[in-house]
């Protein structure tokens, strides 16, 4: 009875309560700024964050299960003088509220132990609650002003966290690139909202929805792709992401990759699906092309990488590509008046958002554990950690399987749903899309297979084999808090993979809100299977697959125990009779990726490999040099940087003019402006 009352209360006041939660997080930040020196304070701040996030996630669930009717929006008398701040939780906000806060809560719980390892917690702790609070603010904002305020706060606080360790030049560079890209992205979003609001300037989302018919939607789409896409990491706007995400402390990396990119996806969905009005058919084309390239390029760059955290960051780029493939398909189906198919593609995308927030946070926490234990991020210096960090190894393995889209874990379910959506697309009414969609399907398939290769590399080189350095040999298991957090994530990955029907049902209200259609209820299907369209088209039963594999494995083990010889012996490795005792002779990350580098990288990254062999008798070591070019950086960014540099050089001359010349400049400007006025009047 109490519980039901609480639920009703929470759902009726969900907007106020979540606003209070956000305020609490900001207050925590302020408190931390004052008191951050002490490490007990650090721990209590993280604990408080975990609690606040759990409460917010619970609120999101309330709002999703028992939505307030009619939807409530609170109007706070703060912000711009002529407009109140509007906050509210609709079905879309609720879903993202859960995604943001579930992950943040577990990561914060894991971070409690981080205080022990951190050298200077006062550089991280003050910004951490504000970062989470800002992301929440973006999600619950119901007007453009508070949305952008939250967005900018999110960028700034995360920037502060990225440069929290500013001793390394790499981190400083990451900070600068991030700051510039974030500014550009926010500017694009600002313009997008400006276009949406139109000349009359209604900045609340409700007013924008009403005024969509007037706005030039193409401009909105492009600006949103730039603004939200740059934060999410769409190619070619992803350049900052693999620099900035790894630079932050690992639990912040987990939040940036696992959650902040999801907030960017939220921004895209909110603007394009909700505010911009009914889509045209061609909208999906740029989204699908960008998404396909993002998925493929992200995973290929991850394969070339041997820094564990950068590898994970590139995989975020890949997964964002997969999410946007789903979103692009949803746009196409919606424009073609195929609501059920649109709902399927949309749910696939949002499901993948949820999944990715789980396993990417898990993997980043794992990489943080490794970093703490060995001081190494470079996989070439690790190895054999499965013996020294058994719990981390198990959790990390689960994350690797899940992100490689292998059954029975959750990553597979969302990719399966995306494939099912692709299989519905022959009914699309446009030629180009019909050629594009199978090609995008092929890139999706390629990126899934390459992701598996990449995570065999990541897990195999880091955790398996023999330790390559004394640091790896001396590694110890991480603290209890991180272990619990990682195991929690791993359990959630398995659960979401085994009973996906419940999550799909939870997303149904969101698709109903945005697309006006929902899939058939999945949780009531026999045997907890999912059949998104109809059982004759395609069925997946994660639970049954999991149980079957488990039963078959156990049965095999039991039978093998019964009929096979029991004798077993530990011996030195055989290796065809030529074992090399030096751990350096193992396959490394670079050598593991060599075949793929050669097959895919020659054209894409202009890979050159040079082997310098010493002549016989010479005792110097042989060397293999790999030369890689970041094609995107060199094509899109380097020319801009060069142009800015040249322009700055030219403009420097302005600082060394005579008084007369300065006066001449002022005079010329004046004349020019007068001329403009005169011409525009006539």
């Amino acid at each position: 009875m109490r519980l039901a009352e609480a639920l009703v209360f929470a759902s009726r006041n969900v907007s106020e309560l979540s606003a209070a939660g956000v305020a609490l997080l900001f207050a925590l930040s302020a408190g931390a700024t004052a008191l951050a020196r002490h490490f007990l304070i650090t721990r209590s701040i993280y604990t408080a964050c975990a609690l606040a996030c759990s409460a917010l996630a619970a609120l999101g669930m309330c709002a999703l299960i028992a939505p307030p009717v009619p939807p409530v929006t609170v109007s706070l008398p703060i912000g711009l003088p002529f407009a109140h701040t509007l906050l509210g939780v609709d079905a879309l906000s609720a879903v993202f509220l859960i995604i943001v806060n579930l992950t943040s809560a577990i990561v914060s719980a894991g971070a409690i132990g981080y205080g022990v390892h951190a050298r200077e917690p006062q550089r991280v702790v003050p910004f951490y609650p504000a970062f989470i609070g800002a992301m929440n603010l973006v999600v619950i904002a119901q007007d453009a002003f508070s949305f952008l305020l939250g967005w900018e706060l999110m960028s700034l606080t995360s920037w502060a966290l990225v440069v929290s360790d500013d001793r390394s030049a790499d981190n400083r560079r990451a900070g600068i690139v991030y700051l510039i890209m974030a500014t550009g992205g926010a500017l694009a979003l600002l313009l997008a909202f400006g276009v949406l609001a139109g000349a009359h300037g209604g900045y609340s989302f409700a007013q924008m929805r009403a005024a969509t018919a007037l706005a030039p939607a193409a401009i909105v789409l492009i600006l949103t792709l730039i603004g939200a896409g740059s934060k999410a990491g769409l190619v070619p706007l992803h350049a900052w992401l693999p620099l900035a995400h790894p630079a932050a402390p690992s639990h912040v990396s987990a939040l940036m990759s696992g959650v902040m990119t999801k907030v960017a996806v939220y921004g895209f969905v909110r603007i394009v699906f909700d505010l911009a009005g009914p889509p045209r058919l061609w909208w999906s084309t740029p989204v699908l092309i960008a998404a396909g390239i993002t998925a493929l390029l992200g995973v290929l760059q991850a394969l070339m990488e041997h820094d564990l955290k950068r590898l994970l960051a590139y995989h975020t780029v890949e997964n964002i590509g997969i999410v946007f493939i789903g979103l692009g398909l949803a746009l196409a189906f919606r424009a073609a008046a195929m609501p059920i198919a649109a709902a399927l593609a949309f749910i696939a995308a949002i499901f993948h958002v949820f999944n990715h927030s789980l396993f990417k946070s898990l993997l980043f926490l794992g990489s943080g554990a490794i970093l703490n234990a060995s001081g190494e991020r470079d996989m070439e210096h690790l190895g054999g950690l499965i013996h020294r960090m058994p719990v981390t190894a198990v959790a990390f393995l689960v994350g690797c399987i899940a992100i490689s889209a292998l059954p029975p874990f959750n990553g597979f379910v969302s990719e399966w749903l995306t494939f099912q959506a692709i299989l519905l697309s022959p009914q699309l009414p446009e030629w180009f899309l019909r050629l594009l969609v199978p090609a995008v399907g092929a890139t999706l398939a390629c990126s899934a297979a390459l992701a598996a290769a990449c995570f065999v590399k990541a897990f195999g080189v880091t955790f398996l084999g023999r330790p390559r350095t004394p640091a790896a040999l001396a590694a110890r298991e991480t603290d209890r808090f991180s272990q619990v957090a990682m195991l929690l994530f791993a359990t959630l990955c398995l659960l979401a993979g085994v009973v996906p029907g419940f999550i799909m049902d939870a997303l149904a209200r969101t698709s109903q809100l945005l697309l006006g259609a929902r899939l058939a209820p999945q949780a009531t299907q026999p045997w907890l299977r999912i059949a998104p369209i109809e059982p004759t088209r395609g069925v997946y039963n994660g639970l049954l697959v999991f149980v079957m594999i488990a039963l078959a494995a156990v049965a095999t083990a039991l039978i093998a125990r019964r009929i096979a010889a029991h004798a077993s012996r530990r011996v030195p490795a055989w290796d065809c009779g030529f074992p090399d005792p030096s751990p350096v002779a193992q396959y490394s990350a670079t050598s593991f990726a060599q075949p793929i580098r050669r097959v895919f990288g020659t054209a894409l990254f202009r890979v050159r490999e040079r082997v310098s062999m010493p002549s016989p008798g010479d005792t110097t070591a042989a060397a293999l040099e790999v030369e890689l070019h970041d094609t995107v950086w060199e094509t899109f960014y380097a020319p801009v940087i060069r142009a800015v540099g040249t322009l700055a050089d030219r403009l420097t001359r302005l600082q060394f003019l005579t008084i007369r010349k300065y006066l001449m400049l002022v005079f010329a400007t004046l004349i020019l402006l007068l001329a403009v006025i005169g011409l525009s009047r006539s």
């Binding site: 292998l406 299977r529 010889a565 097959v599």
Partner: protein, 315 residues
């Protein structure tokens, strides 16, 4: 017969038939080379011999190395049991479709590659690395085949695909021909057959599958060999089920139909094994870096088939 009983029968059947199929291929190959060769039942004896032997594990092998054979075998077995062999409409086929079968094989490969890396030897590494490179092209090619077939039949469920192929709507289609060629190429690569890999060699730098399992012995090796046989059986059954579905019994069709289905299935397996033997005898193994081009062709053909279907659906 009850559907679940049929499913159990199928589980047992694939397990029993798999080594025989491997042996049959070897026998055919030997005969083509005018050797006597081992009898088709030799793989059973090999398995029994391996099971009776002591299991030797490397010093620094982890639990993953010891658990992997069981997992690989279980996953492959489950996947093989999902493909209709003599009878469609199996109980489990309502649990998993063609995409799941492909992904299950991916799971098995994932663990096999990890097991190859576990001991930290150079042979294990080379095998794992090359296997994943092949897979990065073979798996998308396979998925493109799946796309083509399921677009054609309007379902990713194998039972429905098979039924559709038997119906009069099917007819000939260039997309299906392209998909068949692609599927054959993928099957050769996935089962480590010539021209991609040579199942008969050891101690050769170009080997892939054998290099990964080099450190295994005893019951572990037996399980991995059995899983490899199951995989070959799976791919042949898949080709048979989709492209030559004749004779396959409906579920609940009675003993006579089951017997007929079984006979048809055995005939298809024998035909498949002999074709495989002929192709392995007639072709030479490729250089490793020629294989990506070979698999790239499969990917292109699969994609072409899918695109043609996408296009011809209109009009």
């Amino acid at each position: 017969m009850r559907p679940w009983l049929t499913q159990l029968l199928q589980l047992a059947l694939v397990l029993v038939l798999a080594p025989w199929l491997t042996g049959l291929t070897r026998t055919f190959k030997s005969r083509l080379m005018r050797r006597v060769g081992p009898p088709p039942l030799q793989p059973y004896r090999d398995l029994v011999k391996l099971l009776r032997k002591e299991t030797v594990v490397a010093d620094n092998a982890s639990w993953l190395f010891r658990a992997a054979p069981y997992l690989i075998f279980a996953v492959t077995w489950v996947a093989a049991a999902l493909v209709p062999t003599f009878c469609t409409g199996l109980t489990f086929s309502a649990a998993a479709d063609l995409i799941v079968i492909v992904a299950l094989l991916g799971t098995a490969r994932f663990f096999l590659a990890l097991a190859g890396l576990d001991v930290g030897t150079s042979f294990g590494g080379i095998g794992a690395s090359r296997e994943m490179m092949f897979a990065s092209l073979a798996e998308p090619a396979m998925l493109m085949v799946v796309f083509t077939v399921s677009l054609f039949a309007g379902s990713t469920q194998l039972s429905y695909v098979s039924a559709y192929m038997l119906s009069t709507h099917a007819g000939l289609s260039i997309s299906l021909a392209l998909a068949l060629v692609a599927l054959i190429i993928v099957s050769l690569a996935e089962n480590a057959r010539i021209p991609v890999d040579n199942p008969a060699t050891h101690l050769e730098l170009t080997m892939v599958h054998e290099a990964m399992v080099l450190e295994y012995s005893g019951r572990h090796l037996a399980l991995i060999e059995a899983a490899a046989s199951l995989k070959l059986l799976l791919y042949l059954s898949l080709i048979a089920c989709v492209f030559t579905p004749w004779g396959t019994a409906e579920v609940d069709a009675g003993a006579w139909a089951y017997g007929l289905g079984l006979a048809a299935y055995l005939l298809k397996l024998i035909a498949g094994a002999s074709l495989l033997a002929v192709s392995e005898t007639a072709t030479a193994k490729m250089r490793v870096f020629r294989v990506p081009e070979f698999l790239g062709v499969a990917l292109m053909l699969g994609l072409l088939g899918a695109i043609l279907l996408f296009v011809s659906r209109l009009s």
